[in-house]
């Protein structure tokens, strides 16, 4: 069995205490919520923080009203019909039942970026002499690149981006609220505009008609290799993409095009074309890269057609292999 490295474990009971520990420990510490991303990464020695600061005992993070606490689990999201459909569809397609029971929305939004050269254990990475993201000095996906192009792989982020969500970050020095979009940075290593001493505490998101479509090999538990979120905001459809760059992003060009338009078949096709041109999948995830790019337009069309009210249950069950949320 792969074993965890040694670490100290802290379980504060208030947010301010957590923020204080984090400020004191500096980059030696890592936050742990459900641990479903962090612990496997630690087993593979992608990180070996000296101190883990658990968020599980902090009641403030469990708020489950109009504002979502970062500690709400994905299962709780799926089971809450008042939440936007797109978010629930996204949460329902994350990982497996067990992982959703543990995994939180905060952890999902802060999920590490993924790459086939990186999500490997220590011995494997040693065999390729490591890479930029950890312990090495070259990016094997794009050998000429100075930047790591690992993929953002969170499902909930695109759904929340399309819905125009905002998040709150708290540190020992205060708190700030920002549009979710601004949390992300298109860099596989520094993928969040979050300071190491900040804790993501809340997600603010109004309800709106929305959908989320996910491409992955298997409906049971794979990470996305493409996520398409659509939401209807102020009468216009809005698209966000996931898993095609180092950050999830609102597709500005497509959204400009969609503004004020009826979702006719032609409009949907054109939006698909524009969105697909913004997708930059890399050869570091499952399935053929060119194919992934090619089918982006089809997935955009599924999302927009479902948004306008088409019945896509048959298609969804063929792709997801089951009916999520």
């Amino acid at each position: 069995m792969m074993r965890l490295p040694w670490f100290d474990y802290r379980a504060p009971r208030t947010l301010s205490e957590a923020a204080r520990i984090l400020a004191g420990e500096g980059p030696n510490a890592a936050l742990i919520a459900g641990g479903t991303d962090l612990l496997p990464n630690m087993k593979r020695r992608q990180s070996a923080p000296k101190v883990l600061v658990s968020l599980r005992r902090i009641p403030e993070l469990k708020r489950n009203g109009a504002v979502l606490g970062a500690g709400i689990t994905l299962t709780e999201i799926v089971r809450k019909p008042e939440l936007p459909r797109g978010l629930r569809q996204a949460a329902a397609q994350v990982a497996t039942v067990h992982l959703r029971n543990m995994g939180t929305i905060g952890g999902n939004l802060c999920l590490d970026t993924r790459c086939n050269y990186y999500n490997q254990n220590y011995e494997w990475r040693k065999a390729i002499d490591f890479c930029l993201k950890k312990d090495g000095d070259i990016c094997w996906v794009a050998t000429a690149s100075k930047r790591c192009v690992a993929m953002s792989s969170t499902d909930c982020a695109p759904a929340l981006l399309a819905l125009g969500a905002r998040v709150t970050l708290v540190s020992a020095n205060g708190e700030r609220e920002l549009p979710l979009e601004e949390l992300y940075n298109n860099d596989g290593i520094d993928y969040l505009h979050r300071r190491p001493d900040e804790i993501l505490t809340e997600v603010h998101c109004a309800n709106a008609p929305s959908t989320y479509w996910k491409l992955r090999r298997r409906g049971a538990f794979d990470f996305p290799v493409l996520g398409v979120a659509a939401a209807l905001i102020d009468g216009s459809a809005r698209l966000a993409l996931g898993a095609v760059a180092s950050r999830p992003f609102l597709v500005a060009k497509a959204n400009d095009f969609l503004r004020g338009k009826q979702l006719t078949d032609d409009v949907i096709d054109e939006a698909g074309r524009i969105a697909a041109s913004r997708a930059k999948p890399m050869d570091n995830a499952d399935l053929d890269l060119y194919w992934r790019k090619e089918v982006t337009a089809a997935f955009v069309a599924y999302a927009l057609r479902e948004l306008r009210g088409d019945d896509l249950r048959e298609t969804r069950s063929r792709i997801a292999r089951y009916e999520p949320a």
Partner: protein
């Protein structure tokens, strides 16, 4: 029959579902310490120096072993003893073990691995078969045919090329079947310990305790009588635990040195390195067909990617051609094969051992033939079926063959006649067949002893204990043995206690591989049970005052008409009459008719047959594939326990479908200018894609019973054969759905899309290998079929013409 054929809970079912079965990893012994292996980070390298001083000094470390401690090689086949427990100087794949650290716990052992200093001199890795053919240097092994070619085989059973040339139609197709691995949920694990007498015991999740026993004696240079190997129930095997494993040898050695129990559990990544899975095979079929759809001859060439060691490879290579003849009448057959070494984990046997690959090609080619001849693929096959009790061109003896009924069953149940070629665009049906061995005719090391032995002990309480070397790997071998014995003795199967897979307690059975256990151990069990039965009958007859032949055994009673004894009463009478009651039975397969060099691979006491129809749905916009339903009929001869038999069929379908759609054991070569790395692309359960229950289609399973005289109660195998038709049936169904041919495995949506795009452009709507490289096959061994005057031996080339 009272037991055979009745659906029952398996005898070990309760222990399994209540979590009480003890797998190897469940063993914890007092003073036990833990082993971890240091593995090569290089695909190909020489070890220049290896310094273990720092690891040895690490607190908590008890022992560090290296290649120096293992001067003797091993290998599963006597002809390829090419592995070391720990590589002394030459590492051949990323993951090749070079040192073992034993420490107080796994964590400490893992830490110490990093303290071992190894200096390697990297060599150029050989990544593909094409490279292996092109580059004789650097050599991966000093033995073999030449360069990096491990094995060449060539046979001509009648002049196939001449027959093909004279045919109305000639079909030439190249196919590729990607390698894949077994994926048992239980990772390999073992515990080695000395018993109170100083003898060595190894508990291991192995399918072949007998072979491990022999290898331990060889490598540790100890008398076999001082070693006991106990196969713990396997949490799945599928062929992945049929080889001798490095960790078994190192753990055993460490236990001997330390005098303490030593445990190791491989992690998932290490299981991918242990591998011994499906060989990637490139194949070329040239087949001649008459205008009314009869085969005239087939010329099959295969190129087999062996990975870094021999393993079962020589046999696997024979199997890429041995069974092409047992399904359809084939008057002439030429088969050439080559296995090459590459710097990747060694390939070996996986469910279907070497035969699913050519079966994939053959069944797709038949689909193409049917289309060209404008025949229904089912009718085409039905008109050319091999005959029962016949000899094939390559001298295999076929006994029973229930393939006709299998085909008719799936055709009828899938409403084939009304739906094939008639479904709307995007939906299609595909048909394919297959056949498999019921046990390899020969053991893997030459000997004249039985392949399987069973010993029964009858206690005066009426208790029946069965001893047999067969190993329970989840397939239900204990249940089959209990069922057979209880059928003969007229008792309840749950009364039989099975002691199996223990070289210290049980008579030899060669192991759970090649679908041999039900037939071979089953026959041995019948023999033993029958001996006891006649003793019981004789004793009971005396008591009931009738002739022994008139005594019957059923429902726990031994009776003549209305007079009866309980089974235990009969046992008491028999023990009083004969003394302590016990009996043995054993089984040796019939002699195979082929006598040529190489005739040892392919013969079997019986062959099982399967036919399958797959329904596929393909999204023309994305190539996305869905399999809504599969109909399968398997000729099992006789079903011992239908619950288990269906489980095996459905498990095989699962595995076949997973290989068809997703699985691939593939490797990543980093840009050669920058790196020599050649690594497994995704050695994890998450990223090595295999289908899950969500992808499983609805299944319609039918067991066809056409009892074979060589099988126990007529039973044939069911563990492997049903896998074979699934991948080609998927490919054929996709063709029916959207008109594209995917001539390689796995069939992924991107390949379907590429073929659809070619189709739209008016190009050949096919994705698959384009060329077959030049392979230096030797002159074939010429073995005329029986109908051309042959006697099963090879003839020299110059007198070939005279015989024909």
């Amino acid at each position: 029959m009272n037991v055979v054929g009745k659906p029952r809970r398996r005898v070990d079912g309760r222990a399994k579902v209540t979590g009480q079965t003890r797998f190897a990893d469940d063993f914890a012994l007092p003073r036990m310490v833990h082993l971890k292996l240091l593995r090569s980070p290089h695909a190909h390298a020489l070890i220049e120096s290896l310094d273990v001083a720092r690891a040895q000094a690490h607190p908590g470390v008890h022992l560090v072993l290296t290649g120096k401690d293992f001067p003797v090689t091993f290998g599963i086949l006597p002809v390829t003893q090419d592995e070391y427990a720990l590589a002394p100087e030459h590492v051949r794949y990323v993951g090749d073990p070079v040192a073992g650290v034993v420490a107080r716990d796994e964590q400490t052992a893992t830490e110490a691995l990093d303290l071992i200093e190894v200096r390697y001199r990297p060599l150029e890795p050989i990544a593909t078969p094409e490279e292996a053919l092109a580059k004789p240097e650097p050599r991966i092994h000093a033995y073999g045919e030449r360069g990096n070619i491990h094995r060449l085989q060539a046979f001509q059973f009648g002049d196939a090329d001449a027959a093909i040339a004279a045919s109305d139609h000639v079909f030439e197709d190249i196919f590729f079947y990607e390698g894949n691995t077994h994926l048992p949920i239980e990772q390999h694990a073992c515990v080695a310990a000395l018993d109170a007498d100083g003898k060595l015991t190894l508990w291991s999740s192995t399918q072949v305790p007998h072979y491990v026993h022999r290898a331990l004696a060889r490598v540790l240079r100890m008398p076999a009588s001082q070693i006991r190997v106990i196969a713990t129930p396997n949490g799945g095997g599928f062929g992945g635990k049929t080889d001798i494993c490095n960790h078994e040898l190192v753990a055993a050695k460490a236990a001997l040195v330390l005098g303490r129990p030593v445990k190791i559990c491989l992690n998932r990544e290490e299981v991918f390195y242990m591998h011994r899975g499906r060989h990637p095979v490139l194949m070329k079929f040239r087949t001649g067909v008459t205008k009314d759809g009869k085969l005239t001859g087939m010329h099959l060439q295969t190129l087999v990617d062996g990975g870094a060691y021999g393993s079962y490879g020589v046999a696997s290579t024979f199997y890429t051609g041995a069974l092409q003849t047992v399904t359809y009448e084939l008057p002439r057959y030429q088969f050439e094969a080559a296995r090459v070494f590459t710097n990747k984990p060694p390939c070996g046997p996986k469910r279907g051992h070497g035969t699913p690959q050519p079966r994939y090609g053959q069944e797709i080619q038949l689909d193409k033939i049917a289309e060209r001849l404008d025949k229904d693929p089912a009718e085409l096959r039905l008109a050319m079926l091999a005959k029962p009790n016949s000899l094939t061109a390559n001298w295999l003896r076929i006994g029973s063959i229930g393939l006709e009924q299998c085909i008719k069953t799936v055709v009828e149940r899938s409403d084939w006649k009304n739906r094939y070629r008639k479904l709307p665009q995007g939906r299609g049906l595909g048909l394919a067949c297959g056949a498999y061995l019921c046990g390899a005719g020969l053991p893997i090391y030459w000997n004249k002893m039985p392949q399987s032995g069973v010993q029964l002990l009858l206690d005066r309480s009426g208790q029946v204990t069965l001893f047999c070397g067969a190993t329970e790997i989840g397939q239900g071998s204990d249940d089959v043995l209990a069922a057979i014995v209880s059928e003969v003795l007229g008792i309840d199967p749950y009364e039989v206690r099975c002691v199996t897979g223990d070289t210290g307690m049980t008579p030899v059975d060669l192991g759970s591989y090649s679908s041999r256990v039900t037939l071979m151990a089953g026959n041995a069990a019948i023999q033993a049970a029958q001996k006891l039965k006649s003793m019981l009958a004789e004793a009971a007859a005396e008591d009931l005052e009738v002739a022994p032949e008139r005594i019957s055994f059923a429902n726990g009673r031994v009776s003549f008409e209305s007079h009866s004894l309980t089974f235990a009463e009969a046992v008491v009478l028999a023990e009083a009459k004969f003394g302590t009651l016990g009996a043995v039975g054993s089984y040796s397969p019939p002699r195979a008719p082929g006598k040529y060099k190489g005739a040892g691979v392919g013969p079997s006491p019986a062959y099982s047959y399967t036919a399958c129809v797959v329904e596929a749905q393909v999204d023309p916009r994305t190539g996305w594939i869905t399999i809504p339903k599969i109909w399968i009929a398997h000729d099992i001869g006789r079903t011992i326990n239908p619950v288990l038999a269906r489980g095996q069929v459905e498990g095989s379908v699962y595995m076949g479908l997973s290989e068809a759609l997703m699985e691939e054991q593939v490797f990543r070569r980093l840009p050669p200018k920058l790196s020599r790395a050649l690594v497994h692309k995704m050695p994890s359960l998450l990223e090595y894609k295999s289908i899950t229950s969500l992808e499983m289609p609805e299944m319609d399973t039918v067991l066809i019973e056409d009892p074979d005289p060589n099988g126990p109660f007529g039973a044939k195998e069911v563990g492997q054969g049903p896998l074979l038709p699934v991948p080609p049936a998927v490919a054929n169904a996709i063709y029916d759905a959207v008109g594209v041919r995917i001539d390689e495995i796995p069939i992924t949506p991107d390949k379907v899309m590429r073929a659809l795009e070619k189709k739209a452009k008016g190009e050949a709507p096919r994705v698959g290998p384009e060329r077959f490289p030049d392979v230096p096959y030797p002159q074939p061994l010429i073995v005329p079929p029986a109908w051309e005057g042959g006697d099963g031996s090879e003839v020299k080339r110059h007198d070939a013409a005279a015989v024909v």
